[in-house]
């Protein structure tokens, strides 16, 4: 198995990629080697790295002989410009990370301005059901893993020069397809582990805390944020599910049941191990 690592710092790359995984999950993971270091943000444009931070991640990846992989979120027009500036800056510095896109506008930017960068379709491109409450009656999940789903989307991504698709464990399955269902043009299949996102949005409560009462939330969608969520996912208790939940800034993640996660592992070529829930 190939591994991507989503760490909190580029200086903490373990020799065994499974060591980056939170306790309680490592034993599910097969042996493998680290092939990529992930950085950036899949869910919040305010968590995109500045050029210096991105450069540090790219150099750390280069030093370890693995691929630097920049995650990008759904973006506003200003966020799209931020991604463009970031990629322009990295190109000037001679750095060429793979880019995970979660927005069709970012894919367009990659094709038009940075066509040589490897493109990976992020997990927000898969809008399948992930409701954690569905596991109450089906701890193994309900995923049929029918690879007949999303055939056209995978074909479109191939024609747009995308080399990999990523997801977390959903309740339907099938999004990643078969290993070779595209013939000569293969889509590498990547699974994020062990956190599945449940819901995300721009009305971030942690950002709202930076405003006086009556401010924040919808009134602050376009304001930049100093990211008080950084490095600090909050455990969240819910009355309707016992699955562990985490608030990471604007996004709620949960840890699916082990049985459900186990069913996804054979369907991936790469596992992205997250050291903690992060937007």
């Amino acid at each position: 198995m190939d591994y991507g690592l989503r760490l909190t710092s580029p200086s903490e790359v373990p020799s065994d990629p499974r060591a980056a995984c939170p306790d309680g999950w490592r034993d599910l993971l097969p042996e493998g080697r680290t092939v990529a270091l992930y950085f950036g943000s899949e869910f919040c444009e305010d968590r995109l790295p500045d050029p210096a931070e991105a450069k540090a991640w790219c150099e750390a990846a280069h030093d370890r002989g693995v691929e630097a992989t920049l995650a990008t979120p759904l973006v506003s027009p200003e966020g799209l410009r931020s991604v463009e500036r970031l990629l322009d800056g990295l190109a000037v510095a001679g750095l060429r990370p793979a880019v995970v896109f979660n927005d069709w506008g970012v894919l367009g930017l990659l094709r038009e301005r940075h066509a040589s960068l490897p493109r990976r379709a992020g997990r927000l491109m898969n809008r399948s059901l992930r409701d954690p409450r569905a596991y109450r009656d089906a701890p193994g999940g309900t995923a049929t893993h029918d690879t007949g789903r999303h055939v056209r989307l995978r074909a479109l991504l191939r024609t747009l020069g995308v080399g990999a698709i990523e997801t977390d464990a959903d309740l339907e399955g099938g999004y990643l397809g078969e290993r070779d269902d595209g013939g000569a043009v293969r889509l590498d299949r990547t699974l994020h582990f062990p956190f599945t996102y449940a819901a995300s949005g721009r009305g971030c409560p942690l950002k709202a805390a930076l405003y006086p009462e009556g401010g924040g939330f919808a009134q602050a969608f376009a304001d930049p944020c100093p990211a008080p969520c950084r490095g600090r996912p909050l455990p969240v208790q819910r009355p309707d599910t016992a699955l562990p939940h985490w608030r990471a800034g604007n996004t709620l993640f949960y840890e699916p049941p082990r049985e459900a996660m186990r069913s996804w592992l054979p369907r991936a070529d790469r596992i992205v191990v997250h050291a903690m829930a992060a937007p």
Binding site: E53, P77, D103, G214, Q219, A222, A227
Partner: protein, 354 residues
């Protein structure tokens, strides 16, 4: 700009037309759907509570609409295996035999299948597809669809940039907010809305209270009304800027709502649109809305605003905080420009607010 009204029954059409609706949308399921796909949603809402009962009813809706476009929602974020071919066949029947003007679609697989079937021009991209920037707009335009519905969580400045030429654009105008972006909420209301029981986490106290208050406003202030008008999220004061941004259609939310609430929402939207079309300022529109609806306190701090940046010059600013990162330290507050017109010169722009 036209007011787009929700529907679930044929006898709702005439009252909504009289209130000012210019377009309609409704959910309808293919015959035999439940037998084939169980409880999987066709159109994001409960078929029983929010859907048109059947195709005969849909035919009556189209007839009563007397030429006003009727759109059908096939806007679940994802469908089970085997559903897409069935929905393409159903979608074709809706537009070719039942007078439906367009299909509102969220799932990419279904969208691509409809495009492949030659129906792209009859596809409206659902807000769940989260088209939030001009690059995404260009992508959908390239598919040949005719309209994009913008998601809820956008500012006016972002809408102005995103609404590129070559497409019709639709924006949310009234009712039923979402704490999360609907397109990036991967849960289902079948278990009840996930956000209702959401807390910030780890005993946040006062912040949890503020979060709960925001969610309460999004939930139409606990499903309250004032003088029959829903006290829900509202973008009426932003109408002049939505017009300038190139918005064609103004969405009133609430297929499952009782008819009197739908009619009241459309009527209030029509009143505000009439005021806006006469060149009124945001303040004049707000005053007209409050005079009709009441509950002025909910407008005082932009609590109900879909687009609070219409009042950006009056919103609370971020506190000075110790930045967590060098990038944050360098970040400057992004001031959303508001095209506010000084009171003394407002008359000068009447008839040409753009």
């Amino acid at each position: 700009m036209k007011i787009l009204a929700p529907l679930k029954a044929a006898d709702e059409v005439v009252p909504l037309c009289e209130a000012g609706a210019g377009e309609f949308y409704c959910g309808v399921a293919p015959p035999g759907w439940e037998e084939a796909f169980g409880s999987a949603s066709v159109h994001r809402r409960s078929a029983r509570a929010a859907g048109v009962p059947g195709l005969h009813d849909l035919d009556r809706i189209v007839a009563h609409a007397q030429g006003r476009p009727v759109f059908a929602t096939l806007n679940a974020p994802s469908y089970p295996a085997g559903a897409v071919p069935r929905l393409v066949e159903f979608g074709r029947a809706l537009v070719e035999h039942h007078g439906v003007a367009a299909l509102i679609v969220a799932e990419m697989e279904l969208m691509l299948a409809l495009c492949e079937a030659g129906l792209a021009a009859r596809v409206h991209v659902s807000s769940l597809a989260t088209c939030r920037n001009p690059g995404a707009g260009a992508f959908f335009r390239g598919l040949g669809v005719s309209r994009v519905i913008l998601p809820r969580h956008m500012t006016l400045a972002e809408i102005e940039t995103t609404a590129i030429p070559g497409l019709e654009w639709e924006a949310f105008l009234m009712n039923d907010g979402c704490a999360f972006e609907e397109g990036t909420c991967s849960t289902t209301h079948a278990f009840k809305p996930y956000c209702i029981d959401d807390t910030v986490g780890h005993a946040q106290g006062k912040l949890d209270e503020r979060y709960a208050f925001w969610k309460w406003t999004l939930n139409n202030c606990g499903c309250q009304t004032s003088r029959g008008y829903t006290l829900g999220p509202c973008g009426l004061c932003a109408l002049p800027r939505l017009e300038c941004a190139g918005i064609d259609s103004l969405k009133v939310v609430g297929r499952e709502a009782p008819l009197d609430r739908k009619v009241a929402s459309v009527r209030l939207a029509a009143i505000a649109l009439g005021v806006a079309e006469r060149g009124a300022s945001r303040e004049s529109i707000r005053d007209a809305v409050v005079a009709e609806r009441g509950a002025p306190e909910l407008c005082e701090n932009a609590h109900l605003c879909y687009y609070p940046d219409v009042w950006s010059d009056a919103l609370p600013r971020q506190r000075e905080a110790r930045p967590a990162t060098p990038r944050a330290a360098a970040a400057k507050r992004r001031i959303v420009p508001i095209r506010a017109v000084p009171a003394e010169s407002r008359d000068a722009v009447r008839g040409d607010p753009c």
